[in-house]
């Protein structure tokens, strides 16, 4: 019983914490704490915003934000509609050209990142953004509005600033875009796979913003047949797919890091046939050798990801 009470108390302390609220539900505290003009403004209501921002009105009306804020606000903050995100508008209304009189999410804003992102995190904290803090995008000072533009529907989902999440990602990640154009590649530019099928751009508990605990667990989302576990495992395969494969694109078939048989020979030098040097003459032709032609080593070691066959210790069957 004592243990149970103790556990209960620990939970209470953990979940309630100290009595001083650091993050209110309805206002971004960083916004109120600062000395920029918007900090001293009052809420004026969306109608006043729409009075001047006619061009936006039509586009914004079809976004999920607009529908929720106008028709199904979940709390007082959402009822403020435009000002839920942009902060109180009285100062901006009175001094439309004054900088920082309202929260501006664009390049010319002088407001610090915690204030600007804090506006979004008023509602979007937690969930898939649980690991945002100090994630690679956060530590590179990316803001929500670097990827999203909630003022209109540019994409089918996610209020991206471009026509798709893939376009948004590759607008910065040029190396990956180039790799998707190589001979073997993930069909990202073809619209069949999206960056967010593998990565969570808002942060994750694992490396390179992966959506699962390991690289392999991400790969198994689509390649479940490689998951096994197998009776006979191939150690580097079990540990990390990218020991042999490039995740985005390669000039070799099957996204391989280097050409076979050299890929295999960079780790294997056992006796007999494994460590022979195979030359240009080993391709199809008079001196052809099965270790080069076609599927190379996998002509025989066809179950390279693991074998369930009793005679599969060398991944043949």
């Amino acid at each position: 019983m004592l243990k149970a009470i103790l556990r209960y108390l620990i939970c209470l302390i953990l979940f309630y914490g100290a009595s001083v609220p650091l993050y209110a539900a309805e206002e971004n505290p960083a916004l109120k704490k600062g000395d920029w003009p918007v900090s001293f403004a009052e809420f004026v209501g969306a109608d006043q915003c729409k009075g001047c921002h006619q061009a936006i009105k039509g586009h914004y009306a079809h976004t999920k934000h607009a529908i929720a804020f106008e028709k199904n606000p979940g709390n007082a903050l959402e009822r403020k509609n435009c000002e839920a995100c942009h902060g109180p508008g009285s100062r901006h209304s009175e001094h439309p050209l004054e900088k920082n009189a309202i929260v501006n999410f664009q390049q010319d804003s002088d407001l610090p990142k915690p204030v600007i992102n804090g506006q979004c995190l008023q509602c979007h904290d937690g969930g898939e953004r649980l690991h945002w803090d100090n994630s690679i995008h956060d530590s590179n000072d990316l803001m929500c509005s670097d990827c999203h533009n909630p003022m209109a529907r540019f994409s089918k989902r996610g209020l991206q600033r471009t026509s798709s999440v893939n376009d948004t990602c590759i607008s910065c990640h040029k190396t990956q875009e180039a790799e998707f154009k190589k001979r073997s590649h993930m069909p990202v530019l073809e619209g069949k796979v999206s960056c967010v099928d593998c990565h969570n751009p808002h942060g994750s508990s694992s490396e390179t913003l992966l959506k699962a605990d390991t690289v392999n667990q991400v790969c198994y989302n689509c390649h479940q047949e490689k998951r096994g576990p197998f009776v006979y495992e191939h150690a580097p395969v079990r540990e990390n797919c990218i020991n042999c494969h490039k995740p985005h694109g390669s000039n070799h078939e099957f996204l391989l890091n280097v050409a076979r048989p050299f890929l295999c020979q960079s780790c294997h030098s056992h006796s007999q046939h494994v460590n022979d040097l195979l030359t240009a003459e080993a391709g199809p032709g008079a001196k052809s050798d099965a270790r080069v032609v076609g599927r190379s080593c996998q002509n025989c070691h066809s179950q390279i990801h693991g074998s369930n066959h009793p005679a599969g210790v060398r991944m043949h069957r």
């Binding site: 149970a4 939970c11 001083v20 650091l22 539900a25 009306a61 079809h62 999920k64 529908i67 804020f69 028709k71 199904n72 709390n75 390049q107 010319d108 804003s109 610090p112 937690g126 969930g127 000072d141 990316l142 803001m143 509005s145 533009n149 996610g158 798709s164 910065c172 190396t175 180039a178 001979r183 619209g191 069949k192 967010v196 099928d197 508990s205 694992s206 198994y220 479940q224 576990p229 006979y232 495992e233 150690a235 079990r238 990390n240 780790c267 030098s269 460590n275 030359t279 391709g283 199809p284 001196k287 099965a290 076609g294 002509n299 025989c300 066809s302 074998s307 009793p310 210790v313 043949h316």
Partner: protein, 855 residues
């Protein structure tokens, strides 16, 4: 009951503590988060007309905080938000497409269905209730084709949503495969009457030619795998701050893949083969589900989820008849049998959360997960063949599952994560972070011994005894039967590899100026692996980055890193003795039982064992490594309408390996310039260059002696060789999107890509060469692996009325592919059977004409 009480007692304060915050947008769980197709990757109507006023009348050329120009929204009739009841708007586009030239080429149709005929290219419908927050959406593309997709969503904004998806993903590997086999697509490949089992051989004149001409008479078929995936997902806000979500996917995969079904190969240069390329049938089904809930409270966030993945393969094994006969007069297997991907499942529970600490704006984040991968497929016998091998082994004792140690796989790996991250911001300028992450895979699979329960022998019945049968060699059968004086050292016991990874991180960041941040991170990653060449690798990683954002001209992000990986203790090139019969031999020598006479011979065999591998070779995932990285991204606003982006990447992995992978280096630079010369017109140009280099070394073994060190009799320096890859890529893109006249809009794009990989090699002497390469020059290079593609795409959109329009589409591709693995490959040659999937260049096009209706 006791457990239930505990759970309730623990969870109740948590539930009570849920405050009034909101949780929104569970958008990227699972796969199929975006649906499109190659002709229209975004899945949206192509070539929209930009809204002349943009988003705001006050500033049309607004930029992201990084400095990239925001797009202009499309002008649509629906932009009048006024109305009663349900406001419905959308676009439907349908017409015909046709392809020509080399339009069956695998690279042209790799991920796209380019068939001729009618097609519904785009459906995009949205509806919302003007009285409530209810909305409905439907979109689809390429309906009726192998790359079709559709999604439908209904919800009440701010409360719940439900989404249905359907997505087909083709993946074509080759369209020119041919094979003599019957039963393609099934688990049983048989030879036709014209090609009897074991009838073809170099030593049987005309037999190979007969096989070749028979294959030639067969029709070409496609090697491809088509995915068909259906999904249901949704989320529901139970109460403010508490949301439940679920994502379920059902996938069917069907198709054919090339697969190795060999029986022998010519590593001695004796003119024998039995190398066999067969066809793997793909008939997979999987169910994947993720469900959970998230809580967002004033001071903490909590996510709890379950992930389940259930895979089944409707074809458990692949049996293939053997056309080859080595002609040695020994045993030749009639069939081969491979065990295909086993049914398996993965279950995982995850709990993660963060909590705002009372001091220094601290945040504590934790993650816990426990998962299990498992499969218990029935095992096949050691071989599917019958007969007596030349050295007396009767395969009838080996072709039954009664010979196995166990009849199912009983394979299982448990996984787990424990992670804690702490971050503090003691001042507005200074940030600190600390973290610890533990990941482990615990392999619970009992080692499986390749030993026969009927004969009490161990053996490696590899390639269905094809090699051992051809040579009549018990040693090549890897027979281990000490009671009868037969000792072969082979890998008889499966290795339950697993590992655990501990990561310790610390970092600081400092805001030097209002928009200039310096960051420094340190990470120590310790990986402990069971049964590998090193017990533990430790990698220290240092990373420095600087970000400077400027409201006027752009942003610079630069990052440099250095890492050094070292292993603890010595690199043991043979940690596998326990899994080799060598270990049993020791046991036998210590206790020879009823065969004491064999003990001395066993000791002699032990003394004469060949080395496991080259002692100085270092496997690249374990070897000591120094790594340098550099990355830079610069976004410049050249003027109000013009953006310039420069990127650079560099990674240098230098391995401390006398043999094995020596280094790999990647560098890339990119440039992109884009301009929106007006609301109605924009263009871009881009160029990207990448270079990848790597090098490795090895020594060809002589099979003489027992010394595994470099320069010894087994691995003499005279047999040393090296190889290297030098790859360069050039990618160019140019595009224009403009309004030609009030009712005509043009989109024009050109993309060029060229990647060349040169693979060169050099040996100390011709002694390093494979037997098949006798007489070849030991210094040289392969023909470059080259992939070159020109792609021109044109879209012309015209408007007939406000709601009716048309779009003309044309895509022309020129592709050049060279790969020495496949160039000139023969289907039947020199005791090798292949599917003959030579790579071909292509010149092909797709054109289409569509009518658009917008409402």
């Amino acid at each position: 009951m006791k457990t239930l009480k505990k759970i309730v007692f623990t969870i109740s304060p948590l539930a009570m503590a849920v405050a009034s915050n909101m949780v929104h947008a569970t958008s990227a769980v699972g796969t199929d988060n975006h649906l499109g197709n190659e002709m229209n990757p975004s899945g949206l109507p192509v070539l929209c007309e930009p809204s002349p006023e943009g988003l705001t009348s006050f500033s049309k050329d607004s930029r992201t905080p990084t400095g990239l120009r925001y797009q202009q929204p499309c002008l649509k009739p629906e932009n009048d938000p006024e109305g009663d009841g349900w406001i419905v708007y959308g676009t439907v586009e349908a017409g015909v497409t046709g392809s020509g030239g080399d339009d069956k080429n695998a690279y042209f149709v790799e991920y796209a269905d380019r068939d001729d005929g009618p097609i519904i290219t785009v459906v995009s419908l949205s509806a919302r209730d003007s009285e409530s927050a209810s909305y409905a959406e439907f979109s689809a593309g390429n309906l009726g084709r192998d790359d079709e997709h559709l999604e439908a969503e209904y919800g009440v904004a701010g409360s719940y949503k439900a989404r249905f998806t359907y997505n087909k993903i083709p993946h074509v590997y080759a369209t020119n495969a041919k094979s003599p086999y019957q039963g393609i697509g099934s688990g049983n490949l048989t030879l036709p009457a014209e090609i009897p089992v074991n009838s073809v051989s170099n030593s049987v004149p005309g037999s190979t030619e007969g096989l070749d001409s028979f294959i030639d008479s067969q029709s070409e078929f496609e090697l491809s795998v088509n995915r068909e995936r259906m999904g249901l997902s949704g989320d529901y806000e139970i109460t403010e701050g508490v949301k439940a979500y679920v994502d379920y996917k059902h996938e069917q995969r069907d198709g054919l893949r090339a697969f190795g079904g060999s029986f022998n190969f010519d590593f001695l240069g004796l003119g024998i083969g039995s190398v066999n390329e067969v066809i793997e049938p793909i008939d997979y089904m999987s169910h994947d589900i993720t469900a959970g809930f998230s809580i967002n409270a004033d001071r903490y966030n909590l996510n709890a989820s379950y992930t389940g993945s259930f895979f089944s393969n409707r074809i458990d094994s692949l049996t293939y008849e053997n056309p080859w006969n080595t002609g040695f007069g020994g045993f030749t297997p009639a069939t081969g049998q491979s065990d295909l991907a086993p049914d398996n499942q993965f279950n995982q529970l995850r709990l993660e959360g963060n909590y705002q600490l009372p001091s220094w704006k601290g945040l504590a984040t934790f993650s816990l997960s426990r998962g299990r991968m498992e499969q218990d497929d029935k095992l096949l016998p050691f071989t599917s063949n019958t007969g007596v091998l030349p050295f007396g082994v009767n395969l009838d004792d080996w072709n039954t599952t009664a010979a196995l140690q166990r009849d199912s796989a009983e394979a299982r790996i448990d996984t787990g994560v424990e992670q804690l991250k702490l971050s503090f911001k003691p001042t507005d300028k200074l940030g600190m972070k600390f973290g610890y992450r533990h990941y482990e895979e615990d392999n619970k699979t009992s080692p499986f011994a390749s030993c026969n329960q009927i004969t009490d022998q161990c053996a490696f019945v590899f390639l269905d005894a094809g090699l051992a049968g051809a040579f009549g060699s018990a040693a090549l059968f890897r027979l281990f039967d000490p009671d009868n004086g037969v000792f072969t050292n082979f890998h008889y016991l499966s290795v339950p590899w697993d590992y655990e990874k501990n990561k310790y991180t610390a970092g600081f960041s400092y805001l030097v100026q209002a928009k200039t941040r310096l960051g420094f991170d340190y990470e120590l990653e310790k990986i402990q692996r069971s049964y590998r060449e090193v017990d533990e690798t430790d990698e220290n990683k240092f990373r420095f980055n600087i970000v400077h954002r400027d409201g006027g001209w752009g942003t610079i992000r630069v990052e440099a890193g250095y890492a050094e990986r070292r292993y603890d203790g010595n690199y043991n090139s043979n940690p596998y003795e326990h899994f080799y019969t060598e270990e049993l031999l020791h046991d036998f020598i210590n206790d020879p039982g009823t065969a004491p006479a064999s003990a001395a011979a066993a000791q002699a065999a032990l003394n004469a064992l060949a080395p496991h591998t080259l002692s100085e070779l270092r496997k690249s995932d374990l070897s000591e490594r120094d790594q340098m990285t550099f990355a830079a991204k610069v976004n410049l606003a050249l003027n109000e309408k013009t953006d310039l982006m420069l990127t650079a990447d560099y990674k240098d992995n230098d391995y401390d390996a006398a043999y094995g992978l020596d280094y790999d280096k990647t560098k890339g630079v990119g440039l992109e310039i884009s301009q929106a010369s007006s609301v109605k017109s924009d263009w871009y140009m881009s160029y990207y260059f990448q270079s990848i280099k790597s090098s490795m070394r090895n020594i060809d073994s002589t099979e003489i002696g027992t010394d595994g060190s470099a320069g010894g009799t087994f691995y003499p320096f005279a047999n040393e060789w090296s190889s290297g890859e030098d790859e360069t890529s050039h990618m160019i893109g140019v595009g224009l999107n403009t309004q030609l006249a009030p009712d005509y809009r043009l989109g024009l794009g050109y993309a060029y890509g060229l990647t060349k990989t040169k693979i060169s090699y050099a040996a100390a002497s011709a002694a390093a060469l494979a037997a098949s390469q006798a007489g070849a020059n030991p210094v040289g290079s392969f023909d470059d692996i080259r992939y070159e593609q020109h792609q021109i795409e044109l879209n012309l959109r015209g408007r007939v009325t406000d709601v009716i329009g048309w779009r003309m589409f044309a895509q022309y591709e020129i592709g050049r592919i060279e790969d020495f693995h496949y160039e000139g490959i023969q289907r039947a040659e020199n005791e090798k059977l292949s599917l003959g999937t030579d790579v071909d260049d292509w010149d092909a096009f797709t054109v289409g004409l569509q009518a658009q209706y917008q409402f």
